[in-house]
């Protein structure tokens, strides 16, 4: 091989190495930070990632919020009107958090009945509903309707 060719080959190898390292880092970062969105129905059916954070969204059930005195700990129920999930959170709830309105929480299941949230989001549009939550509710509703129809038959 001529020196120029050698140089070129080396350059190509280095670029290839650089690119593969970059892709590897990219994929790892991506995999670790992807968060799935789950509805209470899915969570109740056990369809959630274990030992890692995911987003749980639905409505905050009316009269379900409880505060543990002298702490910033709260407990409330997130529902899609088909299933309920109990959520624990310590910290300051967002301004738009309200019983009977949509919410998205980020955290994980500590056991199969309790979701511990690290973050509670109550961003929403004019319809007081994050789009994912609206979607999840819609799904639960159609499923409910199916069950009811099934009952009639």
């Amino acid at each position: 091989m001529t020196p120029t060719r050698k140089k070129r080959l080396l350059l190509i190898l280095m670029v290839a190495l650089g690119v593969s390292i970059a892709v590897a880092i990219f994929l790892t970062a991506f995999k670790e930070n992807i968060m799935f969105f789950k509805s209470p129905t899915e969570v109740s059916a056990g369809q959630y990632p274990e030992n890692r954070n995911f987003r749980l969204g639905g409505m905050v059930k009316e009269n379900s919020m409880q505060r543990i005195p002298d702490t910033l700990k709260v407990e409330f129920i997130v529902t899609d009107f088909a299933q309920d999930v109990t959520v624990q959170f310590e910290g300051i709830l967002p301004d738009l958090f309200r019983e009977g309105q949509g919410v998205v929480t980020i955290g994980q299941m500590v056991n199969k009945d309790l979701f511990v949230a690290e973050e509670v989001l109550a961003k929403h549009d004019e319809n007081y509903m994050p789009p994912e939550v609206a979607d999840a509710l819609e799904k639960a509703k159609t499923q409910n309707a199916k069950y009811e129809q099934g009952g009639i038959e």
Partner: protein, 647 residues
């Protein structure tokens, strides 16, 4: 009545821009000077029409004309005058109208300040800008008409979203739009050059100053947005990697790559195709950003009600602009082939590396932003957490920070890499020493913060060194570059400190209780009711002191806007040179006056924004470069001479 006039003018504006899109271009292809000359007057007419329409919408808000749907939906009788004016761009319809207004202003400015371009060039540029204006005017008229009438008119309006009733709303969106839309000029130049099949350095020199100006606006717009989010959203963050923030950041990244590559291509016949491609990418990302924000297809703090029709409309526009431009690029790129060879050891190579780093960052962030949509299409709901963006961006900025001083050190055309590295060696040691000093001064820093601070010192030290070493190079171009690069250093330092040395504490406080955070005592003196303008607020009183010496009393508020039935947190901040003390109210946890309180210490956070302002200042200073002014004057003379010869 006035609303009808507005609507009518909007239709007229659409017609005007459609004519602008067609006539000068036809003139160019038929070599008809008369037709080409219509470009400038049409541009002025378009600007007058669109501006009048915009002013009409503002007056409808000022006069509280609730027969207009958009007005009653976003204003109310109690809304103070200044927010009635800003409510104009507070929601979708008005916001898009402002987009178009700003664009018409840019078009008129191009028509006015393009003496150094030949008529055939100007006519093409204005026509391409006309295509963009036509698309967005059609979007306003057919998909988001702000002049729709409600009959009968309601007695009172629904009021403006409380978050938008703020000073930030007055300046952040207009400045951001100036930058966003300003990139359309670079795009139009690129496309016009492709249509003509040639691009010379005059062309790029002219385009470079416009791109610089747009980039400066975009920078300050983003900085203001970050500052606004920090104090207004009430939880002290300054950047969330939210899709809508990314929407403004993506064109900024591509624009950064573009202005650096232009520095090469205006001097040499090199990287011409790459310059054109970057200009196309930058503006396409602006339109994509508009799509992300306006279609509501991604959950975000900014999301407005989702309307699929609007989303599809913008997607079609994006397809036409980006698709058309890229097709043209593919067809014509061979004619733009660069002739000058580039030496490996030269500033040109470094600037190319810069553009590659920034464009890689652009696509990494773009991917993270779009991924949820791709998954959604496959029926899965995911979101990409901000650690992804943070980590990837951090990694990509390492080579940027390492290479920046080297790029500024190396001479144009041909230099010795070894000599440049040797010249920079002292700065490497200074930066290392300063970083070690900072490490002990701030009792330890984590890896990322150390790296960020080292990068800041490294860039700052070498920039200052270069300024001191070459007093002869003191022209506006060099000063602008140095100021912008020092801005990068200040930003890096501020960001690393804020991100990694901040203290955040959420705590329950009883009236009279004192808590200690980072050496400061915070005494909670209860909450009282106040009524201001159109809202009521529970106002907390928190005395901050250090070693028994009072520093400041902070009064964060929990506001309640009766119209919208919505509470809002208004933080109170004690800003400082080295740190901000940030206090906001959570909620009353019981009826004995105990409150959840958020206390943050944010070190050096202002440095970050100040660094951004320095980057902007650098871009503006570079506009006054004697070199480019001299060259532009030569161009004007040349064009004049040619014109004389013709007549």
């Amino acid at each position: 009545m006035l609303a009808n006039t507005g609507q009518f003018l909007l239709v007229l504006a659409l017609c005007t821009s459609a004519v602008l899109m067609v006539l000068p271009m036809v003139g160019y292809f038929k070599n008809n000077e008369q037709l080409m000359k219509t470009g400038r007057p049409l541009s002025y007419l378009l600007f007058v029409l669109v501006l009048t329409t915009f002013v009409i919408l503002v007056s409808l808000f000022v006069m509280q004309d609730f027969s207009v749907t958009y007005v009653w939906q976003h204003s109310s009788l109690e809304l103070p005058l200044r927010y009635r004016i800003t409510a104009t761009w507070g929601a979708h319809e008005g916001s898009v109208l402002m987009w178009v207004t700003v664009q018409a202003l840019w078009i008129a400015a191009v028509a006015r300040y393009s003496r150094s371009l030949s008529l055939s060039q100007v006519s093409r540029v204005l026509s391409v800008l006309g295509i963009i204006a036509t698309g967005f005017l059609a979007f306003v008229l057919f998909a988001s008409n702000p002049f729709e009438i409600t009959n009968p008119a309601p007695l009172d309006g629904r009021d403006l979203n409380p978050l938008l009733q703020d000073f930030g709303m007055i300046i952040h969106p207009p400045l951001l739009y100036f930058g966003y839309v300003g990139l359309s000029v670079a795009f139009a130049l690129a496309v016009a050059a492709l249509i003509g099949g040639q691009i010379d350095e005059k062309w790029i020199r002219w385009s470079r100053r416009w791109t610089n100006l747009a980039w400066a606006f975009l920078t300050v717009g983003i900085i203001l947005g970050s500052w606004w989010a920090y104090y207004e959203l009430g939880w002290g963050g300054w950047w969330f990697w939210d899709p809508v923030e990314n929407a403004s950041f993506l064109p900024w990244l591509a624009g950064t790559a573009l202005i650096h590559v232009q520095a090469v291509s205006e001097r040499k016949n090199a990287f011409r195709g790459w310059t054109v491609l970057l200009a196309i990418i930058a503006f396409s990302l602006c339109v994509l950003g508009t799509f992300l924000v306006r279609s509501g297809s991604i959950t975000s703090v900014h999301s407005f009600a989702a309307d699929p029709f609007r989303g599809v409309f913008i997607l079609v526009l994006l397809g036409i602009y980006a698709g058309g431009a890229l097709t043209l690029y593919a067809l014509r790129v061979n004619q733009l082939r660069s002739r000058d060879a580039i030496n490996l050891e030269s500033r040109e190579t470094m600037l190319l590396a810069n553009s590659l780093i920034f464009i890689t960052s652009t696509f990494t962030i773009l991917l993270g932003t779009l991924f949820p949509m791709i998954f959604e299409a496959m029926g899965k709901k995911i979101s990409v957490g901000s650690p992804y963006f943070g980590l990837m961006f951090f990694l990509l900025m390492i080579p940027m920070a390492v290479l920046l001083p080297l790029g500024a050190q190396l001479k144009w055309h041909k230099d010795k890499m070894g000599a440049a590295i040797k010249a920079l060696l002292p700065h490497f040691f200074i930066a290392t020493a300063l970083t070690v000093g900072a490490y002990f001064l701030f009792d330890g820093l984590n890896l990322r913060a150390t790296a960020g601070i080292f990068g800041g010192f490294w860039i700052a030290s070498s920039s200052v060194g270069q300024i001191l070493k070459f007093p002869g190079r003191m022209n506006a171009g060099f000063v602008g570059m140095s100021v912008a690069h020092l801005g990068v250093a200040v930003f890096l330092f501020g960001m690393s400190m804020t991100e990694h040395k901040d203290v955040e504490k959420d705590i329950l406080l009883k009236p009279g209780q004192t808590t200690q955070v980072a050496g400061y005592d915070f005494t909670f003196n209860g909450v009282s009711q106040v009524k201001i303008e159109n809202y009521q607020a529970q106002q907390g009183s928190i005395q901050v002191s250090q070693n028994g010496r009072p520093i400041v009393e902070l009064n964060p508020q929990k506001r309640f806007y009766p119209k919208q039935q919505q509470p809002m947190t208004e933080a109170d901040i004690y800003p400082g040179f080295t740190k901000d003390i940030y206090v906001s109210l959570g909620e009353a946890v019981n009826d004995q006056g105990d409150w959840a309180v958020r206390i943050y210490i944010k070190p050096f956070i202002r440095w970050m924004w100040f660094g951004g302002l320095m980057m902007m200042a650098g871009a503006v200073i570079a506009l006054f470069s004697k070199r480019s002014q001299r060259l532009e004057q030569q161009q004007v003379d040349q064009v004049m001479q040619e014109r004389l010869k013709l007549s």
